[in-house]
Amino acid sequence: MRGESRLKKVLQQGSFAVTAECGPPKGAEPEAIRKKGKILKGFVDSVNVTDNQTGVVRLSSLAACMLLLQDGLDPILQMTTRDRNRIALQSDILGASALGIRNILGLSGDHQSFGNQPQAKGVFDIDSMQLIQVVRQMRDAGVILGGEQLTEPPDLFIGAVENPFADPLSYRVLRLEKKVVAGAEFIQTQSIYNLARFREWMGQVVDRGIHERVHILGGITPLKSARMAEYMRDRVAGMDIPDEIITRMKSVPGAKQREHGMAIAVEAMQALKEIKGVYGVHIMAIEWEEAVPQLVEEAGLSPRPDV
């Protein structure tokens, strides 16, 4: 029997979903990704595997997804349009499906100038919106760009990202809607620290009825320290960390800050459970996968449901 997307099943049965991000290593060792998978297994429904995140060369997302799949996890293949043209993208979409990967997340990707290959040519042959549309057409109509028929369509649950904290605010919800029209079935958001602004955004989402057409998973990144919070606020584009969070992180000595960061994340996860139109959380504990089981348990999201 062909495998199915666990994420899709969890969302379709109305359970509050939990996904987590997992970054592949800067080397060819399969153990690194397997170790992360082992930590996450049982505590999350599906695992996002980043695609050369921040433009840094790492083990490929497709290969890492396969390693996780072999260990019984439900991987989400992140695919950026930064490094591959439409030929390579469509080819990898078919390859992922053939390997049994059942989820894909299309995004434009961090600009190459941020990574360790700043002299690379940014491909951007198509953009994330177009990529999502391509996957949807491949799956539902069985055609590639240009209309040629596939011998067998890929079987993938399709996701996209959205940043409720980026500008222009007035256009952010319209852009989300466009991604849904393009074919996105689930959305993972940028890390949420500014709950007030996230609520405002979700309010607009619900007003337009978009929550009935797509499953939104709120992004969570536990803070390790006050320094990390300040760095993210000042240096990571599209990140909105209110002063209140920074002050809270600074209110305890360094050694205690991790605990505080975890508590802030748990509170946000609990708040998200109560927001209309939010169907789950997406935990991005950067190089800190060990934090995920604790977060899931403390937020009352463990055990994960049977599907």
């Binding site: 434009s108 600009h111 951007f124 994330s128 177009q130 980026a166 256009y171 940028q190 584009a237």
Partner: protein, 222 residues
């Protein structure tokens, strides 16, 4: 206009090192407008090279000549009477000028003194900004006359990306976010509905199809 910047003097010196008789050829069009390769810049470069040669105790004979256009045969022909008297041509034309001169005089050694950069606009004195990538399929009508290919670091047709903050691009905070500009202009002119449509993938074959692109106009032929 096509913009260019002069290469560093050290790189130019290395390029011309084997030669004692140099013909420096400027261009009076685009690269003169952007103060990189006009008559004035030819003069400045020639003086710098002469001074450097003198200091190093090296012979260097230079002739300066600036053509109205270095990419049109009728003007390049002005070099015919001098070309054999010099060991190398140092061109202050854009990439098209350098190649055009070399094609007219295939035996001549033609060297570039400029780095050709982009098709752009003179924004203010001393500031030029890229405006066009020559994609061969102008889409400005859909994007409120802001080219997303040129102005968005990721060339997004359905932007903005998540890195747009306070109207700035995440890649370079000195650069305005192209999509913020597009949305603001469309909003101001009541055309925000333009953005409801998912803009389809571009036809890049019009930009980088099969080697050099050509424009053929029968009505212009003699």
């Amino acid at each position: 206009m096509i913009t260019a910047e002069r290469k560093p003097l050290a790189e130019i010196k290395e390029l011309i090192a084997p030669y004692r008789k140099i013909l420096i050829v400027g261009c009076g069009s685009c690269v003169a407008e952007c103060a990189a390769g006009g008559e004035k810049e030819v003069g400045l470069l020639a003086s710098a090279l002469r001074m450097d040669a003198r200091r190093a105790g090296r012979d260097l004979e230079i002739k300066e000549l600036t053509l109205d256009r270095q990419c049109v045969y009728e003007f390049i022909d002005q070099l015919t009477e001098f070309i054999d008297q010099y060991e190398a041509v140092l061109s202050l034309g854009c990439g098209a000028g350098v190649q055009a001169v070399a094609e007219v005089f295939p035996k001549a050694i033609v060297l570039p003194a400029l780095n050709t950069t982009f098709v752009g606009e003179t924004k203010e004195a001393g500031l030029w900004i890229e405006r066009c990538r020559g994609c061969g399929d102008c889409k400005l009508g859909f994007f409120a006359a802001v080219c997303p290919i040129t102005n968005c670091a990721k060339g997004l047709f359905n932007g903005p990306c998540g890195g747009s903050q306070e109207g700035r691009c995440e890649v370079d905070p000195d650069t305005p976010c192209a999509w913020q500009l597009i949305i603001t202009r469309l909003e101001e002119s009541g055309r925000l509905d333009c953005l409801e449509k998912i803009y389809p993938p571009a036809d890049w074959s019009r930009q980088q199809g099969r080697g050099p692109r050509r424009i053929i106009r029968e009505d212009q032929k003699l």
